[in-house]
């Protein structure tokens, strides 16, 4: 099926649902082609290639709601699928808050090209893909004789998503993405086999960094872990390396959603306009970054995308409220999901931030742990480096940090100038004071 046929099919499904008695319906049709390569220790390990389809329909009938998905896109199947879905929904309880977004929220879509589709995608050859993975694996394996094993991977996809709502929304979105990554494991005579990794994701293949710059640091970081141990429990300064900083930031996401607020599962309930973090914390949801991994013209409900500040100088400005929970809460919907999140960068490099620390821990990665949306309590495992008098001294692991998210974010004292590029969350390295570590 081509785009035009898929669009026609989406309208046909909406009409089929209407004939079956629904008041409103929203249909999404997805189609994606993907290729995946793994190259390990000098040999091709795995090649995977496929195309897949999906159709999702949300139906609103007699004030009742349900959602259904299938990967069988034949019309005769879909006709029964929709009719059965409608029949099933009638057994549910009415919910006055369920309806499609008011069409006023569809209006004002920005007429700009976000440049999310690499037109060269179809020209990429099988050998070229393998070469990305093999070059990277070779670049890594040549860096140290302590490497036990290394694997590099290449992944790309060409995806299209079509959205049609019965009350007037129609959208088509086509994107490509490319990922290249590598992991290396090294020998530690004390028994462990520490590893590290690096990867990059881009919208255009030509934006992919070269193998050497991706390989750089991976082996170095894995080797630096040799001999890692825990140190004594205590309250220390903490720098979170940009790549790892997603954990503390994303921990605020759940509690900011309309569902968490309405279900009283959020420690941020009632805190709009209040200070929940230090002045150093400003984060913006920006859907309009060219080639951005989270860029979009409209959100999952078809609402027009807007740039917005969620937290400004530590003050909570806006929640993530979709149309359903907005009606339940009696507020205006703000959009229940985010696009590109950009944490406002500071002016110091990671090295300068390390220099400012007398005794502290540089967290290179968090491992496991969780946080409690209702109370803000958190506890995460970690690995990283001990810093003493402005210098990295030795590798540490098997330690936890624990506390409450508001207290942690209030202790954010510095923000780096080194945003992590390969994510829809662009975050720099972060320096927190007075963090409770547990170790020996």
């Amino acid at each position: 099926m081509k785009t035009k046929e898929r669009l026609e099919l989406a309208h046909w499904v909406v009409n089929t649902a209407k004939t079956a008695g629904v008041a409103e319906a929203a249909v999404n049709i997805g189609n994606s082609r993907a290729v995946e390569i793994e190259y390990r220790d000098g040999q091709l390990d795995k090649v995977k290639e496929s195309t897949q389809n999906s159709l999702n329909i949300d139906i609103y009938v007699d004030n009742k709601f349900s959602g259904h998905s299938t990967n069988d896109l034949r019309r005769e199947s879909l006709s029964r699928f929709v009719n059965d879905a409608v029949a099933m929904t009638k057994y549910l309880t009415e919910d006055e808050f369920r309806k499609l977004p008011d069409p006023k929220y569809y209006k004002g879509i920005k007429d700009i090209d976000l440049d999310l589709f690499d037109g060269e995608y179809d020209k990429i050859m099988a050998d070229q893909r393998v070469k990305y993975a093999s070059d990277l694996q070779k670049a890594v394996s040549s860096k140290s004789d302590k490497i036990i094993t290394s694997t590099a991977g290449y992944y790309d996809n060409d995806s299209e998503s079509i959205k049609v709502h019965s009350n007037g929304f129609e959208g088509i979105r086509r994107t490509t993405s490319f990922s290249v990554g590598v992991e290396a494991t090294v020998e530690d005579k004390n028994g462990g086999r520490p590893s590290d990794w690096n990867y990059a994701t881009t919208r255009y293949l030509k934006d992919m960094p070269d193998s050497e710059s991706l390989a750089k640091g991976v082996v170095e970081k894995a080797l630096a872990k040799i001999g890692q141990t825990k140190i004594e429990s205590g309250t220390y300064d903490m720098i979170v390396f940009n790549r790892a900083a997603g954990k503390p930031i994303y921990s605020l996401y759940g509690p900011m959603t309309g569902r968490a607020l309405q279900q009283k599962q959020s420690f941020l309930d009632g805190k709009i306009g209040e200070k929940i973090a230090s002045d150093k914390f400003t984060i913006v949801d920006n859907p309009f970054i060219e080639r951005g991994l989270g860029s979009r013209h409209y959100n999952g409900e078809g609402m027009v995308a807007k740039k917005r500040t969620l937290i400004e100088k530590g003050v909570l400005k806006e929640f993530l409220v979709d149309c359903y929970y907005a009606r339940k809460l009696g507020v205006e919907p703000t959009g229940g999901s985010t696009s590109n999140l950009v944490f406002e960068y500071g002016d110091k490099s990671l090295e300068q931030m390390i220099k400012n620390i007398k005794k502290g821990i540089l967290v290179n990665s968090f491992i496991g742990g969780n946080s409690n949306n209702t109370t803000g309590d958190f506890s995460w495992g970690l690995a990283g480096m001990l810093i003493e008098n402005g210098k990295i001294v030795k590798p540490i692991n098997e330690m936890n940090i624990s506390g409450n998210l508001i207290e942690l974010w209030s202790n954010l004292v510095d923000v780096g100038n080194d945003p992590y590029e390969y994510s829809s969350l662009r975050r720099p390295s972060l320096h927190f004071k007075d963090v409770q570590f547990s170790g020996v």
């Binding site: 199947s77 309880t93 599962q265 496991g368 936890n400 020996v440």
Partner: protein, 512 residues
């Protein structure tokens, strides 16, 4: 996402995962209209269901082996999922999902070529087979054996398949949980309840001659609530899970979910944080088996070992724990979430000893690793769906009973913690550091359980923690709730179990 991460994890099945199927529309869907496998559960009914014949399968296999592959297999799957949920005291949402397709894998040495199609016509399947065939770059040489039916035992007999259960039968179950939660405690201000289930039919054909079919049911019933006391709020939940039918959802079990969710929630009002640092940890019988999943289970998956990337890579046959420690990964437990009648590459399910009387016994193998090590497969080759190639995975991982008693274990601890409810865990396979997150437990002071504790992470090193299992009681219990294990971008259902166990020292995330 580049699928090469070795930071594997397990978590409790996400609350409110928005997928699920409709049961009764199963029969109306032409995909399935071919005929329902089932009734007799015969191989022929599965072949008819997927619309394939032995001749077609051989033709697809020939295309798959055309470039010189050593082996190939076809994995047909049809899965229907349903999720019905209650919020604000009304059963006001339902989600269903239908997934149908075939995955084709070709192996050359230890290299894998993979493709899948959602269109099970001969033409599409042959195209997918030719794509997978490209992992080999030579001429056809591998043999395709005569195909024969390979019967399996059934570790999950159920009375009614989920596609024959109506939404009207599901709705009262969650209404009951809701009622119990509200009646249990006046402090409860918000409630959620859900029932999710699925019905999966699989048919596997292997070039070494096996035709295997299986019906795989699953259900999870869950209650979750928020309570308020003196302006403070806490939330927690309780769920039951198994490869079972609707008969699993008894009045007694619904009561247990409702009262359990409320008890766990209101207990948190009195909870404190333990001190930070190393201390003895007593793991309660049941879902504490997460210790085994993270500390040893992943490290014993043979793909990591054949790649030399696991901390257990050179330890087979060596002592790794006290001689009363026996650890098992088992696919044959009746109606347990991680059980499988056959693995996803057609090998028999089995009970595999990872550690026997303290000695490291066996890895968990798929076909590739079993061949690499020259051992028999352990029935551990699993996949998330037809969209993925199988890799070695755990099933139900547990420890055998030991010589100690629960009271003896708790009273032996002067100052430590007792842990009982968990949300998630993770491990670095090579370095061996693992973690799991404790949602609830108690302090142990002078040999007695005292104040409740909440929201702390535990972290240790796998091989080190195994040597620190110093006492094992005789009350082995499987986890009741649903766990999903993630590895290389694939989630599979697992379970775990443990008798009450003392680990003499683990680093506890707490407050000094």
């Amino acid at each position: 996402m580049v699928p090469i991460s070795r930071r594997e994890f397990v978590k409790t099945t996400a609350k409110g995962v928005a997928i699920a199927s409709i049961p009764f529309f199963f029969k109306a869907n032409p995909l399935m209209a071919l005929t329902t496998p089932g009734g007799d559960g015969s191989l022929q009914s599965y072949m008819d269901h997927f619309g394939v014949s032995e001749t077609m399968i051989r033709e697809i296999m020939s295309a798959a082996m055309d470039k010189g592959g050593d082996y190939c297999d076809l994995f047909f799957q049809h899965k229907m999922s349903s999720y019905v949920a209650l919020e604000d005291d009304a059963v006001n949402r339902a989600y269903t999902n239908v997934d149908f397709g075939v995955g084709i894998r070709v192996i050359k040495g230890d290299q894998t070529g993979y493709s899948f199609t959602e269109d099970v016509t001969l033409k599409s399947m042959k195209t997918a087979a030719r794509t997978a065939a490209n992992i080999a770059q030579g001429i056809a040489s591998g043999e395709i054996a005569k195909l024969g039916y390979h019967p399996t035992p059934n570790y999950y007999q159920i009375k009614t398949k989920w596609e024959d259960v109506t939404i009207e039968q599901r709705i009262p179950t969650i209404q009951k949980i809701n009622k119990v939660m509200h009646e249990s405690d006046k402090r409860v201000i918000k409630t959620n309840a859900s029932i999710s289930d699925n019905s999966a039919y699989i048919l596997i054909a292997t070039s070494d001659g096996r035709l295997v079919c299986d019906y795989q049911p699953m259900v999870r019933v869950s209650g979750y609530c928020t309570a308020e006391q003196d302006g403070k709020r806490e939330s927690n939940g309780y769920d039951l899970c198994g490869r079972s039918g609707i008969e699993f959802v008894s009045s007694e079990s619904l009561d247990r979910i409702g009262t359990g969710a409320v008890r766990r929630t209101v207990n948190l009002f009195d909870a404190v944080k333990p001190e930070a640092g190393e201390m003895p940890v007593v793991l309660a019988a049941g879902s504490s088996g997460i210790l085994l999943h993270e500390a040893i289970g992943h490290g014993m998956e043979a793909d990591f070992n054949r790649k030399n990337a696991s901390i257990f890579s050179d330890k087979i046959g060596k002592p790794v724990a006290e001689n009363f420690v026996t650890i098992i990964d088992d696919g044959t437990n009746q109606n347990v979430r991680g059980s499988i009648n056959v693995d996803d590459e057609g090998m028999d399910s089995q009970k595999t000893y990872l550690v026997k009387d303290g000695i490291l016994e066996s890895y968990l193998h798929d076909r590739i690793s079993a061949k690499y090590y020259g051992v028999k497969p352990t029935g551990s080759g699993r996949r998330q769906s037809f969209r993925f190639a199988p890799i070695p995975r755990m099933r139900n991982t547990y420890m055998d009973n030991g010589p100690h008693f629960v009271e003896e274990i708790i009273s032996s601890v002067k100052k430590g913690i007792y842990v009982e409810q968990f949300t998630n865990g993770q491990v670095n396979i090579g370095a061996g550091d693992y973690t799991f997150y404790v949602k609830a437990g108690n302090l142990i002071e002078d040999g007695k359980l005292t104040k409740p504790i909440k929201d702390i992470n535990l972290i240790g090193n796998g091989p080190d923690s195994l040597t620190k299992v110093t006492m094992v009681a005789n009350d082995m219990k499987m986890a009741e709730g649903g766990w999903t294990c993630g590895k290389s971008g694939q989630g599979v259902p697992v379970s775990m179990g443990l008798p009450t166990v003392l680990v003499s020292s683990i680093t506890v995330g707490g407050i000094s």
